[in-house]
Amino acid sequence: MERHECLDEDLRRIIRSVERTIPTDLEARVRAEAENRRTQQKPRLPLIRQRIFLVPLSGTVALLLAFLVLVPLARGRREPPITEIRTEFELADNIKIVFIQKPDFPILLTSF
């Protein structure tokens, strides 16, 4: 690399002879833009106010969850409806009599 040193020095001098100075308004613009972006990133409401909003929000979510979980559970516990009543009689000689009462059985039950 040593043999290039003189040429490199020449080139450096030539290239560095063209130098732009930073315009003062550009510096100001960059800083203003930086400040602008920084403030945009800030939360719009103070933390305490955000928390105040969080309380009703989390309460609503909890209620919704409870509703979604408890309603199916409550439904699951309900007695299954009776759809038929069977009455079976077993007689001698392997004879079996089966009475099947279908939807109108409530009347039969009350008249029992």
Partner: protein, 191 residues
């Protein structure tokens, strides 16, 4: 997150650079004040690197601004034991790359009519010749060229910033040397 490849390149086991030695052990907190303090020693080099990499295009100011804003945003990822300058230039590299990717432009960039030459001892035609050559390079090669000759970074640092391997960085620089040696009519280093 917008690929926070966001310039947040891997920094491991690399030597410190000149600018870094001057910085000393910086206490970095993710607050704007410390960021501007850290940027201060590098901002002129950074500004010129971006401008030269974009052939003094008008969009260079926007890229400079975006580089600093991204630096500020990701300051918390910067490790104070590392070089802040290299970190910042890596962000600039990503912004420049994004610019060319969006513009889908790999063609040579037009040079401005006149280049404001500060050093009076330098021949304007030679300056124009060098910048015309740089404008004809591909974006990544142009960055390598200016990181070496303008920003004064080492091959290893350039490799870390741009992701171009050491050998390729040297190859790009050698090709530039050979071309410019002929164009400028100098005999430095000819064996």
């Amino acid at each position: 997150m917008e690929q926070t490849r966001a310039a947040l390149f891997q920094l491991s086991g690399r030597p410190r650079i000149d600018a870094e030695a001057k910085e000393g052990p910086a206490e970095v907190r993710a607050d704007p004040d410390s960021f501007w303090e850290l940027v201060d020693p590098h901002k002129l080099k950074l500004y010129n690197f971006i401008h030269k990499s974009l052939s003094f295009s008008e969009e260079a100011d926007d890229i400079y601004q975006e580089t600093l804003l991204r630096g500020l945003k990701y300051l918390h990822t910067y490790e104070s034991s590392r070089s802040f300058g290299t970190w910042l230039f890596a962000i600039a590299h990503n912004e420049i790359r994004k610019h060319f990717k969006n513009a889908r432009r790999n063609d040579p960039l037009p040079l401005p009519e006149s280049l404001a030459v500060c050093d009076k001892g330098v021949d304007h035609e030679r300056v124009r010749e060098v910048f015309r050559f740089a404008a004809g390079l591909k974006p990544k090669q142009r960055e390598v060229f200016f990181l070496f000759y303008d920003s004064g970074l080492s091959v290893a640092e350039i490799s870390r910033i741009t992701g171009v391997r050491d050998g390729n960085v040297k190859f790009i620089l050698n090709r530039a040397r050979n071309f410019l040696r002929e164009r400028l009519g100098v005999n430095h280093g000819k064996t």
